[in-house]
Structures are given as C-alpha cells and as structure tokens.
Amino acid sequence: MTATTDGRVARASRPRPRIRRSKVLYSIVGVVVALIWVFPVYWMLNSSLLSNVVLQEATPSFLPVGGSFANFTAVFAGGTFFPALGMSVVIALIVVVLCLLFAFLAALAISRFRFRGRKAFVLAVLLIQMLPAEGLFIAQYKLLSSVGLLNSVIGISVLYTASVVPFTIWMLRGFVAGIPIELEEAAMVDGLSRTQAFLRITFPLLAPGLVASGVYAFLQVWNEFTIALVVLPDNSSATLPLWLQGFIQQSASRATDWGQVMAASTLVAVPVIIFFLFVQGRMTSGLVSGAVKG
C-alpha cells in the first residue's frame, strides 16, 4: 500500500533505481493478474473453436490450433438459437423503447419541476431500484398467470420495463439536470415557445444521455435470467439466457458438447461486451456519482 505513494514520489522527484525496480515489479504483477482475470473469457473463445474430441483430451489445448467454426455452425443448425435470439431482440426492443419514453418524461418532471410529491417519487424510484427480483417473482408469476400472459412477450416486457425504469430515470435525471435551464430561457427570449425551446435546444443535447440509458436498459434485459426463468416456463418462448442455461442443465444428465456450449456462450456474450464498452463509464458514475465527485 505504501507503494502507491512510492509511485507518486517516483514521478515527482528524481527517479532512483530502487523505485524504478518496484514499478517494474508492480507492472509484472499487474500483467499476471490481468491474465488470470481474463482467462475465463479467453477460455470461452478458445474452447468455442475446438472440437469436443480435442476438448475431452487428457491435456487441454491452450491455443485453438486446428480450430474451426464448426461449433458455431452446429449451434445455428440446432434450430433453437434463432427463435431464442428473436425472443430476446423483440423483448429488448420493446423494453428499451418503453423505458426510454417513460423514464425521459419522469426525468423531466423531477429535474425541471418542483412539485408536491416529488420527493416521495424520487424516494420510491430509488427504493424500487434496490428490490431484488427474487423478492417479487412468485407474485409476478401469479400476476401473469392470472391474466394468461405467461410465456408471452407482453407479460415479461411489462415486468422488465418496471424493473429497469427506476435506474433509467435516475440516470436520465443526471443528464437533464446537467443541461442548464438558462439555455432554454435564452431561446425563449429569442422568441421560441417553451415547447419549441425544449425540442430544439435541450432535446438534442440529451441525445448522448438517451443513448447511454438505452444501452443500459438493453444490457439489463438481454442478460436477465431470474424473471425469465419464472415467467417463461416453455422452451419455445425461451430468451437467450434461458436457452443457454438449457445447455448446463443437460450436463447434469448426459455428456455435454462443451465446444458447442462455449460457442453458444460466445454468441450471447459478444454483443453484450461490445455494447458494454460504450456505457461502462457512465454506469460507474451513475451508481457512485455522489461519492466520486470529490
């Protein structure tokens, strides 16, 4: 721990060999740690390219030498991937659109207006955001089954929208609050109506915020497993996480084709990783904003 400050001193004062050596040492530790941490992701990609015969050999192959995309072709040919992909895409699109619309309106309300009940609403949003899915899924199952919406896109989309909308409101609130109202007022001085000022000045500035929140909502829905497990019991209505879980479940009873499982995992993970890289910074600051500002 003293090393932290050592490093800083090293930069500030004349670099002495002792300190340089410690920096090299820490850098080596850093590389080793990074390699360990990324190993599971690498192993997923590596195994996805190898045949099951190679994977079952006594000594593991650490490089995909002689690998092929056969596992991916087999997963596509299995016939269950595309229906699950379709299900996930449709649900994600519905939820992202609803979520952005609802959250945008609510974020406007709490950051541009002071009204009675505002504080209660903010409190409710924050509290609901913390509620665990496991604490409600029995009741949500019952709700959907009583109106015949189990295994349906509509049913789960409503549940997802409700579970994602609180954090989206919170995130967008930050963006709206970051745009000074004076900009709108200046536009109004120049003769625009309040609505026009909002649409022409504030809304375009909000676009990055809407994109970030939309991607966040997408990731939540794309990865969600718990609620889906409960309210989508039919295999035919499985989303991607449920479809992928089906592979593990088989492994308990019969030999699993791990090459295909890893190919399937890769297919589920890659779009998420790409999207995630876009929003990571904003997500961190959204969750710990109060603390990191300094």
Partner: protein
C-alpha cells in the same frame, strides 16, 4: 422580453399538473408490475396458499402462521445464516481484491494499466449466464482446466467433483461472484484515487510525511466515501445472488444443502407450490434489502438535493 422571462420564472413554481402528467406512465408501470405483486405478496404471506389454492380454492387467512412456521423452522435459519455468511464473504473478498487492483492500477506502467483495465472490462461485461457456463466448464470434473492444473502441480484433483460438497460448492460460487464483481469495485475506487491530487501528496512529503502517513492521512480519507458506497452496493447485490447459485445447482449438487434465500423462495414457490410460505420468505428478503439499502438511498437523495 426580459419582463416576459421574469414573469415566466415564478410560473414554474406555481402548482401545475404538467409534472404529474409526466410521471404517470412510469408510475403506472411500476404500480402494475411491482406495486400490485407487492401487495398480493403481503396478503398471500398471511394466507394458507398451497396446491389446492393453485387450482382455485379460496385461501384461508392464517394471520402470522407462515411467519411463525418460518421462524421456528431450523432450515430457514440455516438458509438465512448461509446467505448472510455468503454475502459477507463475497463482499469482503471483492472489496479487498478490488481495492488492491485499484492501487495496483495507480502504480504500474501506463500500458499495463490499460491492459488491466481492458481485461477487467471484459470480465465485467460477461453476461451472467455465459459466465456461469464458462465457469462450469472450467470446474468440469473430467476435462475442466482447473482440475488439470491442480493435478499438474501434483495435487489429487483428478476427476474431482467440486459441486457435490456444499463447502466446495460455495467456494466455487464465491470465486465466480468475486470474479464478476471485482471490476466494478476496482474501477470505482480507481476513479476515487485519481482525484487525490499530486500537489497535496508532494506538499505532504516535503513537510516530512512518510509514505505510510500519506496513505492513511490523505489517500484513505479521500477515497473513503467511494469505498463506503461501493461496499454497500456489494452487500446488497451479494445478498441477492440467485442466478449463480441456481445455475450451479443445475450443474449438479444437492439443492437443500446449497440453497440461499433466492433459490429457497424459488424452490418453495415452484417445487412445493407453497405460495404462502414463499411469500413470507420474499417479504423477509424485501425488508432485509430495504433496511440495508436505506443508507444507500439516503446518500443518493442528498445527491438529488444538491
């Protein structure tokens, strides 16, 4: 024009129906998908709601009977204790490793830092179910690479089944949860560390502060708020691990010996179809979450007011 603007300002403070109209959609979907189930759950937790009720019989009111059944059931206490212990273990290990990683990022060469950040981002971005399939494969008893490595260095792990013993089941679960949670902690604390100004550090060292004094006197107080909030989030998140436990159970283990609160509710609801009891456990989990979240919510409310 300026006069017009001045008259417009107080307008915003006048009671208007606009903000209420704006929050109606969000409130509606929350009431429908969260509020209604919440109320139903509270009511059901005071009813006898078993298989017969699933097929339409009226559910008799039993007062606090479900809660009494749970409170006097040693298994419930086992699950609660297990969940708390699991949560504490994961949160503690995650915080320690995450903090060390953040400190490490601060002292390594720039390209190493970038490399470390990219690898952590990859781990963080992995969808939970995909991560679970990979880890199940890594710990696979016959061809898993972990057993192979341990055997290679001479340990008796050939064909070792990690999931059959509850203790090693939870060790695997802790490793997976920590692996997934460390990146967020490391990035957040590193963000806090970068705000400790070099000038202050330099000034302190000119004034004769030792490295240790600078760390505990300047760095730690500066990053304490971040650590507090990140720790709180970890506790909340680790208390609600469901997916990881459920998927490890599916990969082959004795459910009753590895249940945490989430999977216990699931088992009560879907396996035994005892919605009354399942609702009572759910209510317990919700109350527990709200109590722990209260601190987090309070700090976020302060942020809202500022």
């Amino acid at each position: 024009m300026t006069a017009d603007l001045l008259t417009k300002r107080p307008d915003r403070r006048r009671i208007t129906s606009v903000p209420y109209a704006l929050i109606v959609p969000a409130v509606a979907v929350l009431v429908l998908a969260m509020g209604y189930p919440l109320v139903w759950q509270l009511i059901t937790s005071t009813q006898q709601f078993g298989l017969a009720q699933q097929f339409g019989q009226a559910a008799p009111f039993v007062g606090l009977q479900n809660y009494i059944t749970l409170a006097t059931d040693p298994y419930m206490w086992t699950v609660v204790g297990r969940s708390l212990l699991f949560c504490a273990t994961c949160a503690a290990i995650t915080m320690v490793i995450g903090t060390l990683f953040a400190l490490l990022m601060n002292v390594v060469a720039r390209w190493v830092r970038l490399f470390l950040q990219i690898t952590l981002l990859l781990a963080w971005a992995m969808p939970v179910v995909a991560a679970m399939t990979v880890w199940t494969w890594l710990f696979n008893l016959r061809s898993g690479v972990i057993n192979w490595m341990l055997t290679a260095i001479g340990l008796p792990f050939h064909g070792h089944n990690w999931l059959i013993e509850p203790l090693s089941f939870f060790a695997v679960a802790v490793i997976i949860v920590v692996w997934m949670s460390v990146p967020f902690v490391a990035f957040s604390i590193y963000a806090g560390l970068t705000q400790v100004s070099e000038e202050v550090m330099e000034a302190a060292s000119i004034d004769g502060a030792t490295a240790r004094q600078r760390f505990f006197g300047i760095t730690v107080p500066m990053i304490r708020p971040v650590i507090a909030i990140v720790l709180l989030l970890q506790v909340i998140w680790d208390l609600r691990v469901f997916t990881q436990i459920k998927l490890l159970q599916s990969a082959g283990s004795v459910k009753s010996e590895t249940n945490l609160l989430g999977t216990y509710i699931y088992q009560l609801g879907t396996g035994s179809s005892d919605f009354g009891l399942a609702s009572a456990v759910s209510v317990f989990v919700l109350v527990l979450t709200i109590v722990i979240s209260a601190f987090y919510v309070r700090s976020m409310l302060k942020e809202d007011e500022s």
